[in-house]
Every structure is written in structure tokens, then in C-alpha cells.
Symmetry: C2
Subunit: 225 residues, 2 copies
Amino acid sequence: MSKCEQCIVRQFSSLKALNKEELLRMADCKTSYTIKKGEPIFEEGEVTNGIYCIKDGICKLSKLSDNGKDQIVKLVKPGELLGQRSMISDEPANLSAVALEDMEVCFIPRSEVMQFFNQNNQFSMNVMRTICDDLKGADDHMVNMAQKTVRQRLGETLIYLEDTFGKNEDGSLHIQLSREELAGMIGTATESCIRLLSELNKSGYIELTGKKITLLDKNKLKRLT
Amino acid sequence: MSKCEQCIVRQFSSLKALNKEELLRMADCKTSYTIKKGEPIFEEGEVTNGIYCIKDGICKLSKLSDNGKDQIVKLVKPGELLGQRSMISDEPANLSAVALEDMEVCFIPRSEVMQFFNQNNQFSMNVMRTICDDLKGADDHMVNMAQKTVRQRLGETLIYLEDTFGKNEDGSLHIQLSREELAGMIGTATESCIRLLSELNKSGYIELTGKKITLLDKNKLKRLT
DNA sequence: AACAAAATATGATAATTGTCATACTTTGTT
DNA sequence: AACAAAGTATGACAATTATCATATTTTGTT
């Protein structure tokens, strides 16, 4: 069993506040999983009873709307934690977490995390700041959803994907989303998403090569009307 | 100067965890304000340096979008606190708070609240739970904005307003929002909002009498297509 | 009471977006 | 290699929503 000390999650998440002894305790009670692309880590409404450390792979946090469509609320990358809000509110998950790539995650039971939370002030402060960041992000996201057109949201989302998850050597977006998933981020119909991508392609703002998307003019993408 | 002990905010907010001594300290350093309808408590980007207790009156939390429209993110009622996220993140306000009615509020300096926060575990836990609730609410709200039609959002918003702020004796909504503000909650153009209200009026789902709105069939409003 | 300003209402029209149908392409499986 | 299934693409059309113009009503101020 690995010791958590060198783990990427420890470097980037709230867990950076844990001391050696706490890390050892955590290493002792953690469970490691591999999750295949497309599989859930947990689903909306499920009692999670702990938090997940994302060691490798990207996942989506989404919620099923009444109209049957899945709205993607956030993408999560290695180094981040999942389930902090549910842990603190002591509620079932509000969102589903599904792997977009093969993933490696560790599960830490609620009881253990709550001990750190109560004993280690810096850790609990880190958790709070993360949740505050999420709240700010969600408010901003909400305003965009309410006030911007689908076309604007698509442009901004493409830029976000490049800035957050990077490019391949050929310059195309590293993260691979299906058209349906991209539509689910933007909050539109899959066909509309496909159609707008085609249009941006023809206008020379992006280049579509098979499933690959390459951003050609980020400035123009930022200022779509 | 009143003593905070009997204050509605103390009963309903995170502050319920404060003991008598802490309440006295708070009473000692608080500043009371009256805010007239239409005036801001604070504005987006402003450094708040403390939290506000809402003793009386309702206010809106909103954010100006690039298109020049003001999106209302949340309504806040007496008993609630404002500025908790900014206090914890140590960041300027992400949203503007503007009075929808004449208000009475108290300001507590950041330094004081952070003392309670660090010393009183129950208080900090309450603050965290509030922020977690806000995060859940914001995620759900975002999904609605992205996936529902303007008409559905209007129906649900009207029901929310009745359920949250109650009715007058004549059955009309107690809270008074301008059409522009209602449009700002729903995320649509003012004219569209007015037009849809007219339509719901003609269909007998609601009744418009001057500025007053009365919900006649909440079930049908819930299931607008 | 009279007036200007703001808010509400409605019409006409354009733009955006969703839906359904269908074709084409890619992927994975046997 | 062959096939089914899934994903992507595009057309045609309908529905929704925004925009601009213009009345009408309400509100606040003098």
C-alpha cells in the first residue's frame, strides 16, 4: 500500500495541511479503486460516506434534469477531492460523478476525514475555501447559463477546456468529450452543439478533424455574438 | 444599543451557536444601518470586511453580466447572514446586495467573526453548512437555467416566491418585484417576462391586478411545458 | 392637480434554438 | 472482415425567445 505522502492529491488539495502522522493514518484506512471510462464513482442521491481523492483521470459531475438531459456542472481533474460538500452537510450526493477517462481514485471514510476536520484547523480551513471557491464558480456559471447565448457558451467552454486540460502535440484539445457531453456542459441539444461546431469550423475559428477539436482563434471565440 | 440576544438573526442563522459572552462582545462591536429600498448594502467587487445580519427587509444578490443585464442569483430574507463566503475566502464580494424593501441590518467586523469562527466549533460548523447549502442551491439553480425553458423557469419562480415570502391577505404574492427584477431572476428579457405573465393571466394560471400577482393554479404552474 | 419619468403592456419581426428525420462515419465486437 | 451499435452530421421545420417600436398605465415630484 502506498503512503499518500507523495500523492498528487496531497500536493494540490486540502490534504496538504495533513502532517506525517495524519497521512499515515489516512494511508492505513484508504481504499484504492480503478474506475473505467464511463463508469460512475458515485451517483446522485447515493450516500457516499466519505471523500474520493482523484489520483488520475478526469471525471464529470452532472445532474439529471427533469427533461431527461444530463447537465454537467463541473469537471474534476487529478489532485482534487470529491464529496466534501456531502460530507459536511451529511447528505447524499447532489451530483453524479462519472469517469471521462480511466481513473485511479482513493476512498477515505467519512469518520477519518471528520477527525482531521475537527483536529486540524488548517485542513478544515482548506476544505472551506475549496467549497467557497466552488460556490463562487457555481454562481458565475449560473449567470453565464442565464444570460449568454448557446454560441457564446460554446466558445467560452472550448477555451476553458483548452486552458484547463491542455492541448495534444498537434494542438488539439487534450480532453475528449463526446458531442453529447459537450452539449451537456453548455446546456443545449446535442444537434445544436454539433451544428454550431460545424459553423465555427467553416468560419475558421476551430478545426474539426474526426473527434479532435483544435482552437484556431481564441480571441474570436471569446467574443462570439 | 440592543443586545443581539433576542434578535431574529440570532435565532435563525449560524449565530445561534454563540454563547452569552460572545453575544455581548458582538453587540459591542456591531454597527446598525437602515437601508432604503433600491440602495445597495454592498456591490460586486467591494471589499466587505465583515458580515451583515439581515434584521428586516428582503434583498437581492445579483451579478452584472457582460450583456449589461443584472442576473439575480439569490434572494435573502430576515434572519440570514450576508458575506460569509467573502469572509472565508478573504475576497471581495462576488455579488451585489441591493435592498428590495427598506431594511435593517447590522454589520459585524471580520476580525470579530473570525474570532468566533476559530474559537467556537459549532459556529464555524454552522457557517460551513450554510455555505454548503448555498452551493447545492447554486448547482441546482444552474441546472434549471441550462435545461428549462423561460416559461418553466417563470412558473417555478412564482411558486418559489409564494412559498418563500408568503401571500398578502388577498392571496397575492407578498414580495414585490418589478417585471425587470423578475426577468432578472428568470434570466430573460423584461419584455419576454411581461409577455409570459400576460399569457399565464389569460390562461387563468395567475391573476394580475396592477402590480399584484396572485397564483391561481400552482399545480399547473409547476408543470408548464 | 399636473406633469415628467418610469414601469408595464403589446405588436411586429428577426434571430436563436429545439425537434424530428435521415444519412453518414466511426467504433467495438464477434 | 463483417456487422451492429453508437456517435456525428445535416436538412427541414417548428417553437421559443429577443429585439425594436410604440402605446398605455402608474408613480413620484413639484
